[in-house]
Amino acid sequence: MGRTLPSITQAFLEEQQSLARFRRALRREDQIALDDLLAGSHHHLAAAAYASHLLPFEIMLLAMLVEEHKEVLDLRRRLDELTGEL
């Protein structure tokens, strides 16, 4: 059956596009960081779709946060390895 709702990918893309002016005014190095965050949210599209949350933007932020935190956990782990503590 042809789906009615836009796909979650499209919904995320629309949210990204609504941030275009914010991004434009950022400094270049900040734009790169924002792009990374947005790219990160992409990893959780399936869960976002399943969630059927009314506001995709909220889920997108959460997804970005999850990716950010994974990075923190990874860095922590590597730091621990480096300093010899477990």
């Binding site: 042809g2 709702l5 596009q17 275009a20 947005l38 009314l54 995709p56």
Partner: protein, 196 residues
């Protein structure tokens, strides 16, 4: 049938314009049409009405109900977007027979009824034109029945070039409506810079 009113508007300001919204709430059959069906405008209107407390019925004839758009708008218009969405009831029809049946079986009420993209399924080439016309006549009669009790707002588009003989369907709909508004797409579109 009332005389045909055709107007052109480049940008109908729906959400914040109480005057336009109130005028929509008259019991009558209002048609909004264009080269593309004006679904966004209708979704905006119906969301605004639901945010104000109305229970809205939506018959979707073109698989166009963008739930996320409605949810985003509900959030802007109300602190309880879920309630707004719960007051909107949708039924989708994928053939003109389904759409006709939907409208035929609908009980009249004072709450607004929106029909999204009424004509797409009637334009379907696999349905003989005579059948489409007959079905549409019956559908229009039922829409008028509903319009006697409450506002009925219909969106429709022109037929594509491949289906030239189907213009008669749009004409019938225009004739059957109390008012018909032609909506032209805005000439310039604001270019959003690409994100990546």
């Amino acid at each position: 049938m009332s005389p045909l009113t055709v107007s052109t508007q480049d940008n109908l300001a729906f959400p914040n314009d109480s005057l336009s919204l109130d005028s929509l709430l008259q019991p009558r059959l209002a048609l909004f049409w264009g080269s593309h069906t004006p679904t966004r405008k209708l979704l905006t209107a119906l969301t605004a009405l639901s945010a104000r407390g109305a229970s809205v019925r939506v018959f979707d004839g073109g698989n166009r109900f963008d739930g996320y758009f409605v949810a985003r708008l509900s959030r802007r218009l109300s602190p309880h977007p879920e309630d707004v969405l719960n007051r909107i009831r949708i039924s989708r029809a994928f053939t003109c027979f389904q759409l006709a049946e939907l409208i035929e079986n609908s009980p009249p009420g004072s709450d607004p009824v929106f029909v999204l993209d009424l004509l797409s399924t009637f334009y379907d080439e696999s349905v003989p034109l005579a059948d489409s016309e007959r079905l549409l006549d019956s559908t229009i009669a039922h829409l008028r029945r509903l319009a006697a009790a409450g506002p009925v707002i219909v969106g429709a588009r022109e037929p594509r070039t491949l289906v030239k003989d189907r213009w008669t369907l749009l004409e019938r709909l225009q004739a059957g409506a109390d008012s018909a508004w032609l909506l032209r797409a805005p000439v310039e579109t604001v270019l959003q810079p690409r994100l990546f």
